[in-house]
């Protein structure tokens, strides 16, 4: 199959032809290296295949000049190449491209004419206006529609006047396109500060018999074009019972600049039904330049609950430190529906000063306010250790609970001993569970887990068994070398409770560094059920963890060597076939020598052999034949 024309082969140097793609043109095509306009035009003039001419057009889009326009214009009648030619003609500056497009338009029909009209619109060719006005009356609705939009893109008084006349076209599709043209034209008048003419066009569309979406677009434009005078029209939309119009009211409420609209929207809130008011509040909050925070706070303070919640939701996005005081009040209103959004807003406000506002209230706060502030300290991760520790002395159980939880979320590493003390010997026995949970929460947050584990392990010394068990659980969450060391020691302790918890935790360990500890416990630890548990934990790692084939074979070999129970040895052979490799095959074949495991190992070897790649199959067959194992078909 040939995708490189002999004509080009003559033109191009041999070096360019080397490496020619056999799959048609792409960035490696020799034509994609040509920047010479004359060479590219020569391709268009030749009988080169369509693909070559297509790529030449794309190169001319970047490197062509007005000289190329006539030759490109000839392709506009070619159904296959017209779009390629327009890629170049739309891009090449100068009148020649416009002329080529206009000239072609006279003889084209249907889709090809639509394409040319689209290009003239994009090039904003003023000289095409008369021809396009004529096409507005075309019996081909696609052509008439394209002409309408192109006229809108070109803009200007003549085009917009003719578009306005055509707004009552008999065809729905053309009418919709004419409306689009009017709106495009209006935007151009707006960019030229001619809001009067823009408003006329928007109003014309707004009042015509058109699909709702065109009305929506014209309404938005009519509001923005009028500026402050557009506020009544905006409010009219917000009062509409039609959702698309209400929606465009919400949209414009965000877009219309100035402060007067804010005042109007705030007034509107008073009379809007709660469902609408809740959405208007959110629109107000999105007005970054003219945000009236005190009023949003005011809305959040009273009125229908849904509107208040919407206002609090808005405050969470746009609020600042001034919102802290009112939000605390809202949260303490004893209304469960308000508590959550108020707390959420206290958590989310991004103003750094909010931290100061919260902290300054904490020392003197009592009762519900104290509890709320403590909770917010935890939610915002504000370090306030001294105040939280003081709160642990409170006679109120909810305050102590909040303080412990917040300590869990905020305590710095240097102060970890505070929570260890609370978890080991809480002043109130009722706080034990929450203190221990807080310690775990804090411990897993610590940036230096080895230092953290060292402090926790230190606390185990001379502690009663029950405390040691709790601290071992904390270490299980912390992980790392120091935690492993402590759990290894506990697994060998004479105390069965410690052996029990340590082997349980190690059995569920989530990183491979526990493997040596587990196998050591399985072989040298206390000869009882804990040894079995350690072995099973080790086998689980070999079965589940992502490790190299070599390491997995080594772990399985070790497991078979150490495991005493038949069940564990069989469990180990189940790993073989899950991870087929030559190393695993060798181990499976070796294991067939054990009469107790012969059956499982043989099956595993056969399964592995079927899964190995071609390069290993020959050697695998040899090994299996030698071991007397049937080779699966």
């Amino acid at each position: 199959m040939r995708y490189f024309h002999p004509f080009l082969a003559m033109m191009l140097s041999a070096s360019l032809i080397v490496g020619l793609s056999s799959i048609g043109f792409c960035q490696d095509s020799p034509i994609s290296k040509i920047s010479s306009e004359s060479e590219l035009i020569a391709i268009l003039k030749s009988d080169a295949p369509g693909g070559d001419k297509a790529l030449a057009c794309k190169r001319l889009a970047v490197y062509g000049s007005e000289v190329a326009a006539p030759e490109l214009g000839k392709l506009l009648t070619d159904e296959k190449l017209a779009s390629w030619a327009r890629i170049a003609l739309e891009a090449i500056p100068g009148k020649a491209s416009d002329e080529a497009l206009r000239s072609a338009a006279g003889s084209l029909k249907g889709r090809l004419l639509v394409g040319v009209i689209n290009s003239l619109g994009i090039r904003r060719d003023q000289e095409a206006v008369t021809m396009l006005i004529g096409e507005l009356k075309s019996s081909d609705v696609e052509v008439a529609s394209a002409a309408a939009v192109a006229l809108g893109s070109i803009g200007g008084e003549t085009a917009s006047t003719e578009l306005a006349k055509a707004i009552d076209s008999s065809t729905d599709v053309v009418r919709s396109a004419v409306a689009e043209g009017c709106i495009l034209s209006a935007e151009q008048f707006m960019s030229q500060s001619n809001s009067k003419r823009a408003t006329e066009l928007y109003d014309l569309v707004r009042k015509a018999a058109l699909p709702t979406q065109r009305i929506v677009e014209a309404t938005r434009g009519a509001i923005l074009a009028r500026g402050d005078d557009g506020i009544p029209l905006l409010l009219e939309q917000l009062r509409s019972s039609e959702k698309p119009l209400f929606d465009v009211g919400l949209w414009s409420a965000r877009e219309l600049p100035g402060k007067k609209v804010v005042t109007a929207l705030l007034d509107e809130l008073k009379q809007a039904d709660p469902e609408k008011a809740a959405l208007i509040v959110q629109a107000l909050a999105d007005r970054k330049g003219t945000l009236d925070l005190p009023t949003i706070i005011q809305v959040a303070a009273s009125g229908p609950r849904d509107v208040r919640i919407a206002a609090m939701s808005a405050i969470s996005r746009v609020g600042d430190a001034s919102c802290v005081e009112p939000l605390l009040k809202f949260a303490l209103e004893k209304d469960a529906d308000l508590l959550l959004p108020a707390k959420q807003a206290l958590k989310e406000i991004q103003d750094e000063e909010a931290r100061t506002e919260i902290l300054k209230r904490l020392p003197t706060a009592t009762g519900d306010l104290q509890q709320l502030l403590i909770e917010v300290v935890g939610l915002r991760r504000i370090e306030a250790t001294d105040e939280l520790v003081k709160a642990l002395e409170s006679p109120s159980a909810p305050i102590r609970k909040a303080a412990l939880e917040s300590l869990g979320s905020t305590l710095p590493q240097k102060d970890l001993a505070i929570l260890i003390k609370q978890a080991v010997s809480p002043k109130n026995a009722d706080d034990t569970a929450i203190a221990r949970l807080a310690l775990k929460t804090a411990a897993v947050r610590m940036p230096d887990r080895e230092a953290c584990a060292t402090v926790v392990a230190e606390a185990m010394k001379n502690a009663p068994t029950e405390t040691k068990v709790m601290l071992l659980e904390v270490l299980g969450s912390v992980t790392g070398a120091k935690a492993l060391e402590a759990l290894n020691a506990a697994g060998r302790d004479a105390d069965p409770q410690l052996k029990d918890i340590a082997t349980k935790i190690l059995g569920d360990w989530l990183t491979i560094d526990a493997a040596p500890v587990l196998i050591d416990l399985a072989s040298n630890g206390p000869a009882d059920k804990y040894q079995v548990r350690a072995m099973r934990g080790y086998i689980r790692m070999a079965r589940q963890f992502v490790i190299s084939d070599k390491d997995r074979v080594a772990m399985c070999t070790k497991a078979l060597e150490i495991a005493k129970q038949p069940a564990e040895r069989k469990l180990t052979t189940e790993i073989f076939a899950r991870y087929p490799s030559m190393g695993m095959l060798k181990l499976a074949i070796e294991t067939t020598k054990d009469p107790e495991l012969k059956s499982e190992a043989t099956k595993a070897a056969q399964t592995i052999a079927t899964k190995l790649g071609d390069k290993d199959k020959k050697q695998a067959i040899e090994m299996m034949s030698k071991a007397g194992i049937t080779i699966p078909k």
């Binding site: 048609g24 095509s29 779009s83 889709r111 394409g115 809740a278 959405l279 959550l340």
Partner: protein
């Protein structure tokens, strides 16, 4: 051919059947979205968002799952030029709802004509993204559109303009904007916690111009199986070839200047743009040097496209460097930071990574409130313009300078000609 297809073909004209103002839905008294108000609850029919799918292949099926998880979504119809894709989506949707109601269409305009559909999910190949989105907007639908959303700079500008003009909600499929760890990393950059930003890094995965071009002609399948003309859509004509059916290699970036920068850049450059507070894109783009393309914002901060040198944090990594610290995040859901203090007592694990459904939720909430979602058209346009400009610098192999007033290159005719590309007749953006 299914019942729906029989009924719907030949297609109606765009907006022909759309309601005039007398026929629009009456304002629903329960329009207030409970999710937007921070409360959960059963979904009233009036709060339901009726969604149609356009071009739902592999990626689209994932998005579809995210939509179907939302209790206030009713997925009503699918359109695809591939019969297998239509049937697959119908099966998923009908199984989810326990009925046979998901309608199938060959022509996306039939979905846009339906008055009951509020929003569309567009997950076609990139060739159709912008055109599909602007047509949906003109038909009054809100849009969740997969990335890359545009093929060139002018399309990017048009996309943002048209969403404003039509007052439609647009969410680009840049779901990382709603993944907590990426959001946190961007917050650190935006809020000044890293000090004054000096460099933001994006990993575009493949910085070369690409074009699928004009491949050898193969027999064209029956239109009911694969509609080739519709598949080409706005792309210049070429003969049918099955290799073109991989939408991920279809003339991104306007043909000769597409490629990897846009495919992944629409995610990672987008995150860099968020880190710089969605400011306008960089004003200077250097040629590729030492496997890096350096672009510079008008405040001197650099956006660096690079392939190597990343901490292994999974695909789509980004790095933000300020005068006081740095953060790096990737698709593993992990972050690495210059100082643990930046976490302010949190752990990377508790900040968390996935799921991607948050992005769909963000879109649906904004459909109800008319607020702007995180991947809105303006933000997406800026990120895409940065990618397209970088692609142009790569294609021309030299520095290009962008004027932010009109997004034209300064004194560079060749670069300016690459800002846009004609669409095939009869399509227009």
């Amino acid at each position: 051919m299914t019942r729906s297809e029989n009924k719907k073909l030949p297609r109606r004209r765009v907006l022909k059947a759309a309601a005039t103002s007398a026929g629009v839905a009456i304002f629903a008294p329960t329009i207030i979205p409970s999710s937007a108000l921070g409360r959960d609850g059963a979904t009233a029919p009036s709060e339901r968002v009726v969604v149609g799918g356009i071009g739902i292949g592999r990626r689209g099926t994932y998005d579809l799952g995210c939509f179907l998880e939302q209790s206030d979504v009713q997925f009503a119809a699918v359109c695809d030029i591939k019969e297998t894709a239509r049937l697959n989506v119908k099966k998923i949707v009908d199984e989810k709802y326990g009925n046979q109601n998901c309608d199938m269409y060959l022509d996306f305009r039939d979905i846009l004509d339906r008055k009951d559909i509020d929003a569309v999910l567009i997950a076609t190949g990139p060739n159709w993204h912008c055109l599909g989105a602007v047509n949906a907007a003109r038909a009054g639908k809100d849009i969740y559109c997969e990335k890359p959303c545009t093929k060139n700079i002018v399309q990017s500008i048009a996309l943002a303009d048209i969403m404003k003009r039509t007052a439609r909600i647009f969410q680009a499929g840049t779901q990382r904007r709603n993944l907590p760890h990426f959001a946190f990393a961007c917050y650190l950059a935006r809020s000044g916690k890293l000090g004054k930003l000096t460099k933001v890094y994006a990993h575009p995965r493949g910085m070369q111009a690409m074009s699928s071009g004009w491949l050898p002609a193969e027999p064209e399948p029956d239109k009911s199986k694969i509609d080739w003309d519709r598949y080409l859509g706005p792309a210049a004509w070429r003969p049918f070839n099955t290799k073109h059916l991989d939408g991920f290699n279809f003339e991104k970036g306007g043909g000769l200047v597409g490629g990897g920068v846009l495919e992944w850049g629409s995610h990672c450059v987008d995150l860099c743009q968020w880190a710089v507070n969605d400011c306008p894109p960089p004003i200077e783009y250097n040629a590729l040097e030492n496997e890096e393309l350096v672009a510079t914002y008008d405040d001197g901060c650099q956006l660096i496209f690079r392939e190597k040198g990343w901490i292994p944090l999974g695909s789509c990594p980004v790095r933000f460097e300020g005068e006081k610290g740095w953060v790096e995040a990737g698709d593993s859901g992990k972050m690495v930071l210059s100082s643990p203090e930046l976490l302010a007592g949190r752990t990377v694990e508790e900040i968390g990574g996935y799921p991607a459904t948050f992005h769909v939720r963000d879109f649906l909430d904004c459909v109800k409130t008319r607020s702007q979602p995180k991947g809105n058209a303006e933000a997406a346009a800026r990120a895409h313009i940065a990618c397209h400009a970088a692609n142009i610098a790569l294609f021309l192999n030299r520095k290009v300078k962008l004027d932010l007033k009109n997004y034209e290159f300064i004194g560079d005719d060749e670069a300016n000609r690459l800002r846009s590309e004609a669409t095939r007749e009869p399509w227009r953006i």
